[in-house]
Structures are given as C-alpha cells and as structure tokens.
C-alpha cells in the first residue's frame, strides 16, 4: 500500500529544516530513521502534508566527549553507530539499552532522537486502518472516545521509548531546537502524561541532542518483553547510583513502558537511601511502589501484571546495583 500523499523536503541545514517545520508546524513531520513515522503513516495514524528529512543534517550527528566527561550525542545518530562508538561502549548499561531496541535491521536505520520521540502506542492504534474503522476513531485519531479505556479524557497510550528510562536515570539533558532558538531541559521533563502530546516539543521544534553526564557509580538497565529480539517492551527499568561503602548515597530509578510517561520513582528510592540495599530494604522499596504507579491500564498486559512487573523490575535493578 502506498504511503498517504504528502510533500517531501530534504533541507541542507538545520536552520532550513526548522524554517520548513515552522512554516506549517501542525501539518509537518520530521523524518530521521523513518522506522516509526513510516509505520504510522502507512497505518494512517499520521498523515502529514509535509515530511522534512533530517537524514543529511550534520547538526544532528556526532558523539562528543565534553571536558567534564559528559557525552553529547546528536539526536540523528543511528543506534547501530552508537553501539560501535567506543565512548558509548564504555558505559555498558547504555550500550545494553541500545542493543535492546528492536532488531539490528531497525537499529541500522533508527536514531537516538527517534527512539526518544517514539509515538505512544496502545492495542487500538496498533491495529490496521481497516480494523480501526470498525470501531471508529479514538482520542488520538480524532474523536472524543477512547476505545482502549472507555471513559478516559486523556490518551493513555504507552511510551515504549526503550532508551528513556536509563537516560533519565543517568540525568541526561535534552537540547531542543526550533526556529525561535534553543532550550535545554532534564530528559524527565521532556515527557508528559498525555499520550497524544506525549513530549513537550513545541510546534516546529526538534530534539537536537542529548547530553549524558558520566555515571557517578553503577548504572543498570533491564528490558522485559515477550521475546528478546524485536518486540516492544512490556516494562523497562533504568537505574543509576552513587555508592559509598556498599550503600547508595544517591539513586535514580526509572520505570518505562508501563505508563504514558517514564516514571522517575520517589518513595522506593527514599526507602533505599534510608535503609540500604539489604533484602528487607528492597522488599520495603517494592511495597513503596504502591503509591507511585498511579492508575495502570490493561494495554498489552493486564494492570495487575504491570503492578507485579514493576516490583520485579525494581528488585532486579536494585539487586544488580548491590552486586556491582
């Protein structure tokens, strides 16, 4: 099936790309690797009038080590290239997270920025156009109704960006660019609770680069999905800690794919900082998850499964930190 009709532009510079996107922000979309956008266009989940190619923009490329040891990675870097980068390889949790994304075929095309901006998904939007037509449109495709969770007023589709949890745990900063200028924000503030406007990207704005500070201690990542290869995750966890005498003195734990935005945990982390990484402390941290998860949906996996999976992901991350 042909893609929906649209115009295509291949600008030669970032400024040119931003001007094109700014000229008609509501009806334009940027394409990098294409593995998400083309999928969504083919399913008529997205029907932009203009597709602006970021493929040849040098401003979105490159991995640079900054003087403080941080890595600044262009959002247009292919995941496969990042896996071959020596600086990325030295941060094994990050390399592991990148390797967990989809398949080598997809990683040969998909980019860092594309993964972080991945469209949210639910079992309704994941169906073909014909299948969806049987139920009519949804919040995301232009109606007041949600078919996945009847009654909700805000889209609750899941964020499957596999790299987000670890990068948030590692305190990555996102640099955004628009025709109006640039801004930086912590990656956790890049995401929202709305499955439609699921990032804070403004009209015509692009994710330009990620800056990741050097890990102060051990960092761990785990992805749980139905198969090791290819599949979207059912749940992911990323964690980063500063350790002193076998105890974390600073800790960030983020759960992904369970909700519309990656969850930066609060109460379980406080429990661990107060009580350490003993078995009892870990169990207490698991119990402290109760208030953090909010209303879980039955998208892909039942809510009860997600609740249990969150406990397991947290425990697994904490045990790995303890062993490191």
């Amino acid at each position: 099936m042909l893609l929906p009709a649209h115009d295509y532009a291949q600008p030669g510079s970032l400024d040119e790309a931003l001007a094109l996107l700014n000229a008609s922000p509501a009806t334009s979309r940027a394409i990098a690797g294409g593995t998400d956008l083309i999928y969504n266009m083919r399913g008529r989940l997205e029907q932009p009038e203009l597709v602006v190619s970021l493929r040849r923009l040098p401003e979105l490329q490159g991995v640079r080590q900054l003087s403080d040891g941080s890595l600044r990675i262009g959002a247009g870097e292919r995941l496969a290239d990042l896996l071959r980068n020596e600086a990325v390889q030295r941060w094994s949790a990050l390399a592991g997270a990148i390797r967990s994304v989809a398949s080598s075929h997809v990683r040969n095309m998909a980019t860092l920025g594309g993964n972080l901006c991945l469209q949210t998904r639910c079992w309704y939007t994941n169906q073909s156009e014909e299948w969806r037509a049987g139920r009519g449109p949804c919040l995301k495709t232009g109606s007041p109704d949600c078919h996945a969770l009847p009654g909700v007023e805000v889209c609750v589709a899941l964020n499957n960006a596999d790299l987000a949890p670890l990068l948030i745990a590692m305190q990555a900063t996102a640099t955004l660019a628009s025709a109006g200028g640039r801004r930086e924000l912590p990656l956790e503030d890049f995401y929202t609770d709305d499955g439609i406007a699921h990032t804070v990207l403004g009209p015509g704005e692009l994710l330009l680069a990620l800056t990741i500070p050097p890990p102060p201690g051990p960092a761990v990542y785990w992805k749980h999905s139905s198969r090791t290869g290819l599949d979207f995750s059912w749940g992911t966890v990323g964690a980063s800690a500063t350790m002193a005498d076998g105890r974390p003195v600073a800790l960030r734990v983020v759960l992904g794919s369970l909700t519309t935005r990656p969850l930066l945990l609060d109460a379980p982390v406080r429990t661990i900082l107060e009580q350490g990484l003993g078995d009892d402390a870990i169990a207490a941290a698991q119990d402290a998850l109760r208030g953090e998860l909010g209303a879980l949906t039955n998208l892909y996996t039942p809510a009860a499964y997600k609740r249990e999976l969150a406990r397991i992901l947290l425990k697994r991350a904490l045990l790995r930190l303890r062993e490191s």
């Binding site: 099936m1 042909l2 893609l3 929906p4 009709a5 649209h6 115009d7 295509y8 291949q10 394409i31 294409g34 593995t35 083309i38 999928y39 083919r42 399913g43 597709v51 190619s53 493929r55 496969a80 390797r99 989809a102 398949s103 080598s104 075929h105 997809v106 040969n108 095309m109 198969r227 090791t228 290869g229 290819l230």
Partner: protein, 160 residues
C-alpha cells in the same frame, strides 16, 4: 505532491527514476526497477522479508524508508549477491543446509545472514541470533539458517 528524479545505484547498476513521496524504497525496487526478489511482507518492520543492504553492507528494511531518502545512494538486493552466475557462498550454504522451505522469506533471510557475515566474518552464536532477530521464517525455522551461517563462518576460520 512533489515527484522527484532520484539517482539510485542498485546491485552496481546506476538508475535514474522519477519517485513519489508515497513510494518506499521497496516500492521502487519491486516496481519500476522490476527486482522482485525482495519481498513485501508485514510492512511494519517485524518480518524482515524486505531486507536489502545499504552501501555499508548493513541490513535495512526497505519497506520502512521513503525512496526519496535514498537519492544518490547504493543498495544491494538479493539479485546482487551472485557474481557472474555464481551464487554467493551464503546462498550456496542455504541450499546445502536445507535452510529454505517455502522460500518466501528467503531473500530477506539471506540478506540478513549476509549482513551478519559482513560485520562478523566468523560470527558467534549470539551475534547470529542478534543479527537474525529481525527476520521471521514461519516454516523452516531458524535452526537450519543458523547452521548455514555458521558453515560459512567456519569456512573462513579454516582459511586463516
């Protein structure tokens, strides 16, 4: 909707053709170029039967990329593996190890296998598994495929 002339080198042959934003690389390869060895399967990035190689010999999914993105670039399809009527060693290995049943996925599976060998001339099992996780064979399964890849890899070992 802007149709554009693109220059594309496929299997070493240069082409100039008019492509529409509505066409993927796969549409162009199978349509105007008539190279129907590359198959259309799921068109969602799950099955890998549309796998072709970019200029670096890496496996990419031709169904998920607009043709216009490939202006000026080189692509290899399953038709480009044989040289002067002689099969590539991975193609011969698929025959020798019975790694084909119905054959529909085979072009994509072979291009994926070739890409594994391009990156790792003597691949370890985890490298084979990782490189082949983006393709699905629903009838033969992947055991014979892995044997074929290992056979080519170990041949290289013996030559060293």
């Amino acid at each position: 909707m802007n149709r554009e002339m693109i220059r594309l080198t496929v299997n070493g042959d240069p082409y100039e053709l008019l492509a529409s934003p509505r066409q993927t690389l796969l549409d162009v390869i199978r349509g105007p170029l008539g190279l129907t060895g590359t198959k259309e399967g799921c068109t969602t990035g799950s099955c890998g039967v549309c796998t072709v190689h970019n200029a670096s010999g890496e496996a990419v999914l031709s169904c998920l990329t607009p043709a216009l993105e490939w202006d000026g670039e080189a692509v290899t399809t399953i038709e480009g593996l044989e040289t002067s009527g002689r099969l590539d060693e991975i193609q011969q290995a698929f025959i020798d190890h019975h790694a084909v049943q119905c054959g529909f996925c085979t072009p994509g599976v072979i291009m994926s296998a070739r890409a594994v060998l391009n990156e790792h001339p003597s691949p370890q099992m985890d490298q084979i598994n990782d490189g082949m996780s983006g393709v699905i064979c629903r009838c033969t399964g992947h055991i014979k495929v892995r044997e074929a890849i290992r056979a080519v890899g170990s041949k290289l070992d013996r030559r060293v």
